[in-house]
Symmetry: none
Subunit: 278 residues, 2 copies
């Protein structure tokens, strides 16, 4: 048996909302430690992996490990109909392996809404699970920044709305984009002092300068998630996808792994985007 309770508007709900931009179904693994989810966006550019430790919930119980494919979009649709103060329960029984039940209960117990959500096959989502501990050493640069700062960057970059280049060297991290209507460049001087300022970007480690290009649209979801947290941690590597991480309740995390653009893809996408652009 598996059961977790949380209140309306909890971090999990917020995170699920935010990943909707990329993902419709995801594979969820529950263990006594907590709740983890892996998903690949529909275009296979972003892999996202998140772990909510049991402490992140109001109550949490998982008798034995289980793996479930969940139609996140439907789940979020339903969660959206919760009201302030509602207790949200997600439950899976051992008798019924076909569904999970989500219950929204008003504080005064007067109104109850429940959905039995049919599980789906999402095994394709877990082909390769990157283990951050193994990968970390491949990252040439890792830095943290206030998530507010990150979001503002994303917003400014969206004025141009094209592929974004992230470059980093020992002193400066910069985000830039070029498009038909102009170009934007945002640079942060790294703060490497012992007493970092509140709003500064902290370089955790760097080995040589590097720069990566990625499609801006995949950052939108990260930016949305980051709103729920104080800091984001960004890892850059020439061998690995860009990593964006937010820390959840000490032990938990949500990590986006965004494949850098290959040159050809860059051009293709630009074309496609022109059309999309009103």
């Amino acid at each position: 048996m598996f059961e977790l309770k949380m209140v309306k508007g909890s971090t999990l709900q917020g995170v699920l909302e935010a990943i909707l931009d990329l993902v419709n179904v995801a594979n969820v693994d529950c263990s006594s430690e907590g709740f983890s989810l892996q998903a690949l966006d529909t275009e296979h550019v972003v892999f996202l992996s998140l772990f909510f430790p049991s402490e992140a919930f109001q109550s949490y119980r998982c008798d034995e490990d289980r793996s479930m494919g969940i139609a996140i979009a439907d789940m979020v649709d339903f969660l959206r109909s919760s009201n302030d103060g509602d207790i949200i329960t997600i439950k899976a029984t051992d008798q019924n392996l076909e569904d999970i039940t989500i219950t929204l209960e008003s504080p005064d117990k007067i109104k109850t809404m429940a959905i039995d959500l049919r599980l789906v096959d999402a095994t394709s989502q877990c082909l390769k699970i990157p283990d951050w501990n193994d990968m970390e050493s491949d990252y040439q640069a890792i830095f943290c920044m206030p998530s507010e700062e990150f979001r503002l960057n994303c917003k400014s970059l969206s004025v141009i709305d094209d592929d974004v280049v992230i470059s980093v060297n020992e002193e400066v991290i910069s985000f830039s984009t070029k498009g038909e209507s102009g170009c934007v460049n945002i640079s942060h001087v790294m703060n490497k002092t012992d007493k970092p300022e509140k709003a500064s970007v902290i370089l955790t480690h760097a080995r040589g300068p590097l720069s990566l290009t990625l499609n801006w649209r995949y950052m939108k979801s990260c930016a949305k998630v980051s709103k729920l947290f104080d800091q984001v941690k960004i890892g850059l590597s020439t061998k690995r996808p860009l990593m964006v991480e937010c820390i959840i309740a000490e032990k938990g995390y949500i990590r986006y792994f965004v494949a850098p653009l290959k040159e050809e893809e860059g051009r293709q996408r630009k074309k496609a985007k022109k059309k999309r652009r009103r």
Copy 2:
């Protein structure tokens, strides 16, 4: 001669917009008391009946009773072109029994738009006019709820998007639906105290438990109409169609009578819907 005036965005306009989902032409009866309309949806599942008392309009005059078949869809199309503050006049003369004239007049009198709308034969719409006063005693349960609550229910149920079962007993009213991707159940504990809470469902009267199944899509129009009012009143009966009512300006009303699904119909409709779903 018949003539009524109202301002753009009046309740009548809102109601006409909302019933468009179900009805293209309707039969309108005008008397000195007010303006009433009967219509049957194209699939003959919903009968709707509304009465706007003369006080509901900015001005109202009806010298003798008359009955007119109106192409509501065309009428609404034209009304949509009205601007803020416009005065809308609907007029029928004794000389011309073929048309009604609708005039939109800007507040500054600078612009006037008028349409002569050809009347149509809508006598088939009035085959049987249920009189609520005669029917009310057949209803085993009647309850009121805030229309906002009603709309939220409709929305949550739409996650599954299939036929809806409404069940009621002395304590609880529940809405539920089952579909391929799961099922949803919403329960409200009735409030029968003298001091009802703002958001609560009030049971007016109940005789024994009962439950009805109906096609969700017919509720959409009710939900849309209900937005114009604070409360909806719902009547359930095993002998009669489900009734949904909103009260207009004290003496007026709009009532939906929705035939419950027969078993076969339920199955037919489900098939049709499967296709529609992505």
